[in-house]
Each structure stands twice: as structure tokens, then as C-alpha cells.
């Protein structure tokens, strides 16, 4: 198992390398650079030309790539072209903790809500609660993030005043438990908004998987042996029903850690998503490259974690 994990991680390296080459080439192919969009009649355009020269933006692409990769392998992702003089790693670190909080909270909500409801729906299909869950499922999948976010802000922040409408904390300078609870309060609306579609779809998956497994022969056998319904459900059914869900969650980890542009901007929640989008608009190459690399890593990691979890829930799957 341990060897398997090491092997998988080693495979990450060439994959990530290819990823950086592709992304770098695509970025160079895109028209414009970090300074073309900055047109200010009070600024002499010569200024931007001098900065291009100083930053090496006029160098041939292979030299630019070499300069980038030689820093990147030792963990130096350079300085942002837009956030003047700031190291890319600082910028990302600053945003990553917010994205991580939001991602974890969203994942928790998704799992805690969708799996029990899915199981309940499967055990009691075609009951009023099952229909309710189905309706919720459609609602969740059909409602766009930004719309749900805005309605949620309107109701819970502006009209009722229960929850904050924006940001990650209510004021600077608080710490300890106060900070912790304040952060949680700020996470509630964004994470529900972000998790809505996921919750709805996992609930549907869970329901159909459990229904599927419940109808299979080995469950009938288990019941015939006289096992209690709970043992049948939690020991035999659930483990098998979870496998496809875990695959999906593996992807979800990668996606959530990459930040959520729309939710972040509705709630002005400074996470990686908005940083990524601003950087693309500004052609801030060093930041784009670093975030891409990170995203790629998390998607691979999510998949690896999914594979490891398979072997935990399903004893038939073993790696060596």
C-alpha cells in the first residue's frame, strides 16, 4: 500500500510537468500581456515597455519557460506582475486558507446532508419525504449559484440580519474563539450556496446506488441469514454503495480547492477562484502558472485519495 502511494506520487511529476508546458504555451498564444490592458493617458507607454523588458516578457518563449521552471522546481514561483512586488507564493497562501475553509465546510455540508437523505430516500422510496428530497434535488441542480447566493443574502443578511453578507470576518483584530465562530458564521451562506448543487446530486446518486445494492442477491442472502436490517444496511449495502460516490468526491476535492469563482465574488470572499480569474484577465503569468500547478496537483491528489478510500470501504480492492 505504502509503495503504491509512493509510486502514484512519482507519476504526478511527469504529469504536472506536461501540464505546465501546455498551460504556458496556451498563455503565450493568447493575445495581449500583463500591460496591454493598462491604458492610462497620464502614463507614458514607454514605462510599460521598460517593465516588459525588465520582467523578461520580450524574451523568446523557451527562455521564459526555462526561467519559470527553474524557479518553480525549488518552490520559487516568482513575483506577480500585477500585485507589485509580491511573491506569488504569498498571494496564494493568503487566499488558500480561505479557500480551504470554504472547501472543507462545503464538503462537510454536502456529505452530512446528502448521504443520510439519500439513504433514507432509498429505504423509503415513493414516500412523501422521498418526493420532497427529489424536489429539493431538482431545485438544487436547477438553481444557479449566483442567484441562490443573492437570494440567500437578501433574505438572511439584508432582511433578517442573521448572517453576514460578505467577507470572511466581521472586523480585524479579533482572535481565539471569537474569531473561530465569526469565521464559521461567515462561512455558512457561501458554503451552502457552493454546496447546493453537489448536495443535490450526491443525494440522487446515493439514493440510486443504495436502491441498486438493496436489490442485489447478496443482500437477499444476508437478509435470509437473519441479519438485522441495520447490519444489512450499514455493513453490506453502504460500503458498496459508497464506491461511486467516493470517485466523485475525489474530483470534488480538486474542484473545491481550486476555488469557486462565482460564489466567491457574490460574497466577496477572497479565495483562489477570484485570484485566478483576475490573474487570467490581467495576464499575470506567474500567478496563473502557480495556481494551475496547484489545481493539477489537487485533482491528482483527489484521485489518489479516492483510490485509497476504495480499498478501505471495499476489501476486494487491494493495492500492492
Amino acid at each position: 500500500m505504502f509503495q503504491y502511494i509512493i509510486r502514484r506520487i512519482l507519476v504526478f511529476i511527469p504529469m504536472l510537468f506536461v501540464l505546465t508546458v501546455i498551460v504556458f504555451a496556451l498563455m503565450q498564444a493568447a493575445p495581449g500581456d500583463a500591460f496591454t490592458g493598462r491604458i492610462d493617458p497620464t502614463v507614458d507607454p514607454e514605462v510599460y515597455e521598460q517593465r516588459r523588458e525588465a520582467l523578461g516578457l520580450n524574451d523568446p518563449i523557451h527562455i521564459q519557460y526555462w526561467n519559470w521552471i527553474k524557479g518553480a522546481v525549488v518552490g520559487d514561483f516568482g513575483e506577480s506582475l500585477i500585485y507589485k512586488g509580491r511573491a506569488v507564493s504569498d498571494l496564494i497562501a493568503e487566499r488558500f486558507s480561505n479557500t480551504l475553509n470554504l472547501g472543507v465546510m462545503t464538503l462537510i455540508i454536502t456529505i452530512v446532508v446528502s448521504i443520510p437523505i439519500g439513504i433514507y430516500s432509498a429505504r423509503h422510496p415513493y414516500t412523501p419525504l422521498d418526493y420532497g428530497a427529489t424536489a429539493f434535488g431538482f431545485f438544487g441542480l436547477a438553481t444557479p449559484n449566483f442567484f441562490f447566493g443573492l437570494v440567500a443574502i437578501y433574505i438572511f443578511s439584508i432582511k433578517l440580519g442573521w448572517l453576514p453578507a460578505h467577507g470572511t470576518v466581521s472586523k480585524p483584530g479579533i482572535d481565539g474563539f471569537e474569531l473561530f465562530f465569526d469565521k464559521i458564521r461567515h462561512l455558512i451562506l457561501p458554503s451552502i450556496t457552493l454546496g447546493l448543487a453537489g448536495t443535490a446530486s450526491y443525494m440522487r446518486y446515493m439514493r440510486s446506488e443504495v436502491l441498486d445494492v438493496l436489490g442485489s442477491d447478496y443482500i437477499r442472502t444476508a437478509r435470509a441469514k437473519g441479519m438485522t436490517e441495520n447490519t444489512v444496511l450499514y455493513k453490506h449495502t453502504l460500503r458498496n454503495a459508497l464506491i461511486p460516490i467516493i470517485t466523485l468526491l475525489g474530483f470534488e476535492v480538486g474542484v473545491l480547492l481550486g476555488g469557486a469563482v462565482i460564489t466567491e465574488s457574490v460574497f466577496q470572499f477572497p479565495g483562489l477562484g477570484t485570484l485566478f480569474i483576475t490573474s487570467i484577465g490581467n495576464r499575470d503569468y506567474p500567478v496563473i502558472m502557480a495556481i494551475n500547478l496547484m489545481l493539477g496537483f489537487f485533482v491528482l491528489l483527489g484521485n489518489l485519495l479516492a483510490d485509497i478510500f476504495y480499498s478501505i470501504v471495499d476489501p476486494r480492492i487491494r493495492y500492492d
Binding site: 493575445p31 493617458p41 418526493y131 420532497g132 439584508i158 466577496q268 477572497p270
Partner: protein, 589 residues
Amino acid sequence: MNLKFKRSWLILLSFVLMLGILAACSGGSDNTSTEGEKENEEKETGPQMGGTVVGAMDTAPSGSFNPIFYEEAYEANIIEFVYEGLVSQNNSLEFVPNLAKEWKYNEDHSEITFTLEENVKWHDGEPFTAHDVVFTYKTMSDPDYIEAGGVRASEYASRLLGYKEYSEGQTDEFQGVVAEDDHTVTFKFAEPNVIALSDASFSIIPEHIFKDIPVADIPAAPESREPGKVIGTGPFKFTEMVQGEQYVLEKNADYWQGEPYLDSVVWKVVDQAVILGLLENGEIDFVADPNGFQAADYEAVAAMQNVEIIEQPDFGYQIMGMMHNHRAAGDMTLDPSKWTVNENLKDPRVRQAIAYAIDRQAIIDGLLYGRGIVQNSPIATQFWAYDDQNPPAYEHDQDKANQLLDEAGYVDVDGDGFREDPNGEKWVLNLNYPLGNQIRERSAPIIEEFLEEVGINIDLRQPKEAAAYFEDLEKNSQDWDLYLVGWSLSSGDPSPEGLWGSKDFYNYSRWNNPEADKLLAEAVKPPEAFEQDYRKEIYSKWQVEFGEDLPALILYAANSLWAHNSRMKGIDVLPYQFHNNPHLWYVTE
């Protein structure tokens, strides 16, 4: 039975959901009854100490809070409370004393000597002196300044004596600004300078904080970015922040113009869609620079009983440029003799017909809900230099447009509804526009329609995002005819140089009119140009030239729409910005 049950459940559920939303919507209306009582309590009590106001902006500042290195309006929102310049501008855009209490020119206006206020202290208690002024301009002239990311030198320092030599590293001696004593400082210019006060108006940074930091390292230094370390002379200190979300400014009790009434001003970053809701429920007190609120929301904001609106013309405008000439592919110089004439728009009558064909007031009424103005020359209307009499006004007139096009020989010969050029060849004008400004994006197809109504065949091209669009406009516009772009202008001086001179980089129309160039040069030529009336006359001639030759049609200037809670008093906005003397702001309650 099963199916029936399913349906009734769905109906019940949607009913419950609707009820919930209805209940939430009606929640806001029950506080109207108390409004009358409140107003009675609010008698004229005069300014009172204490309180906090919360401002909203829709995008987080990038985080550079050093005047010589910031670039964004969002950063300016914080910087302007913290730093001050020697002079500032008043309501009629005249320069008035600020850190300098008086000034005098030498005989030929190549030097200006300022006497500084004496009791000014930096936020850390150090005295403010003439050496800080020298240091600020010296740093902006430093050979490393531009590479470090500074962009202000060309506007503020480049006319100083010896700027070129010092900034290119040929000498270590900085001659441009000299401290005569602690409270007297002289600006020396390479030539007599018409806009000396504008040049001297830049915010001053503290020498004792930055002197030991190499210029290249200043942008990243905590002294340029972090609350508590950013030190200015202004009425508020930058004391705390949550990066990307909140920025707290606390009053500078020792402020030289008197202790501010407010305890603090807090900036919050809030999505545009949420700002108005928070303004109404009082969580936010004001929304102003740089984006204010949208014209489409005007009625909604006007209906809020606790909110007041400030509306005034902006210092920017949107234009539709008309390519007079094209620069060859790969030519990055600005040499008009190498340009080729754009045959499609060569005839001035065609350009004038285009101007007559577009109903600009209709665009303002339709897209800006009337919250904007038509202007006829590219000088902001607030300036003394703007001439609203002489330049042609091009009021919407389809007949006139048709007539001019007929005269110029552009008639429809093959009966397809579109005019052909005088040789009978197909004549299509392309119209290019960038993404990033919704109103502008929506105006492009409307312009297309107006022009097709007078028989001009328009090829409306796919819009591109800014970075791609401007690269094309600068390098690959050899086949462009019409293009949309927006300019925002500085409030310092009305000179249109920089945008409309034939050798200006941003003269994207590649307009080459020697008469107009001559007028631009005359308007800033000493000694005559020290008389404002003289400049006014020259600029008037230039504006007529512009209007007749039409390198661009000025489409509209959208008004600034700002709003603040009525509890905020003492607001005295400037033509170009909301914050002005924030130490005089106070709140009732």
C-alpha cells in the same frame, strides 16, 4: 394513486417555498412609520465628535498603499485619507494651498517656490519638512523607479530640471526639487512650465521611513502595504485590515487642520449586487469612487428614505474613434509620415455624416437612463477650457447625414440598401469594441443600427476582452475603421495632449492634423500660456478643429452616481472625487 400523490406533494412544496420568499420580501416595509419621528429629532445640532462611517467598494484593492506606486482607484480610496500633497484642487478645479500655504513663481515661470505649513506632523510624530518633498520627487526620478513598477514619473516628475540625466543614471545630483530650508522648497523645471502646480500636487511620502529602503524594494516593503506601517500626514491613519475585505482608517487626532470629527472610516469590499441592499439597511454608509452605483438602480436608490444621491458629470467619456490613418504592421514608432490613409473614412463629409447619423441622446436615455451628457469635444466639461459654443454639435439629423453622404459620392448603386463608395465598389465599415463595460457593449449594436439607417454597411466585429483588444488596436488595426474605447481624464489640467496629438501613442485614430498639433503646442507655450484666457482661446480653436476633422465622435460622458446615508454630514464633494476634507465629515445619532 401514487402519481397523484407525487404531484400534490410537489405543489405543496413549491407553495411553502413561495411563502417563505414572500415573507422575506415583506419584512423590510414595516420600518417606514418611524421615519417621520426620526426626522423631527434630527434638528440642526451641528458637528459632533465620534462615530464611524462605512464605505463600500466593489473590488478589493491590490494592496499597494504607497502614492508613488499605486495604480488603482481602489487603492486611491485608502491613500487619499492618509497622504496629502502640497496643493489640492477646489470645486472649480483651481489649485489651493494644502501642505504648502503659499507659493510664488520666478520671472519666467521655470521655478516655483513653496512655503510649507509649519506644524504638520507625520502619523508617527516626526515633523513634515521640505526634505520630504525633495525625497518624494527624487524617488520618482530614480533610475530604478520605473522598473520597480512606478508609473507616475511621466505625469509629475518628467518636466523637472535634470530629470532625464538623473533618471538615466548619468548623474547622482538631483536638481529638480531643492529644499531652501526646512519649510521652503523650490521646484525647478527644465523649461518654463505652464502646469507647474499640477506637477507639484503629488502626494508626499515620508523620507525618514523610506530613505533606507532601496527604490526597487519599496513596492514590496511593509511600509508601502501594511496597516500601522503606512505613514502619511492626512486626517486618517491606516490602522487595520483584513486583506481583500476590510480596511480601517482611524482618525489622526493631531491632524494639522484640526481633529477629525469621526473616529474612523471603514472600507468594506462588497459585491456590486449587494451594495444597495446594505446601503438601505444601514450597514453601509456610502458608495462612491470609483464606480458608484448603476444608472439602472437610480430609481431604487432615490426611493430609499435614508439615502441621499450625489450626481455630477464624470471626468471620463466614451468615444467611437474613426481611423484616419493606419500604422503598418510591425511599425512601433509614432511617425505620421509612414502611415497610410484609411480610404474608407478619408472624406471628412463621411465622418461628419456618421456623427449626424448617431443619436447620442437616445443612447444616453436608453442605456444610461438619462444619467449622462452629450459632449462635443474631448475636454471634460467641468474645465474652463471646454467650449460648448463653437465646435459643431452634430445633433441627430438623418437627412443631413444622407445629404452629406450623397454629396461625397457614396450612393447605393446596386440597390441592396447599402451605399457603395464613389467608385461603385462595395463599402463596408467595421466596428470594433472591447468587453468590460456593459453599457459600452450594449451601445455597439445600437450604433450599428443608426449607421445602417443611413445606408452605411457596418460589420460589427466580435468583441474581445481588454488585453486582447488593445493589443490588436495597437498592433493589428490595419483594417480597422471604427472602434469604441473609454478614456478617463486627469482633473489636473485640461490639455488634450497625450491622447490627440499626432505623435501620441494613444492617438489610436492616427489622426494627423498639423493645424491641430500646432494649436496644442501653442496652448502650453510660455509665456503667453500663463494667461488662462489665452489658453482658453487656443483650446477653443483646437476643439473646433477636432469637431470638424472628427478623429473620434465623443459618444457620451456618464454621470458619477454616488449615494450616502443621510446620517452622514459635512460632505463636500469635488468635481472629480467624493472624498474631500474627510476630517469635516460627521454623523448624527
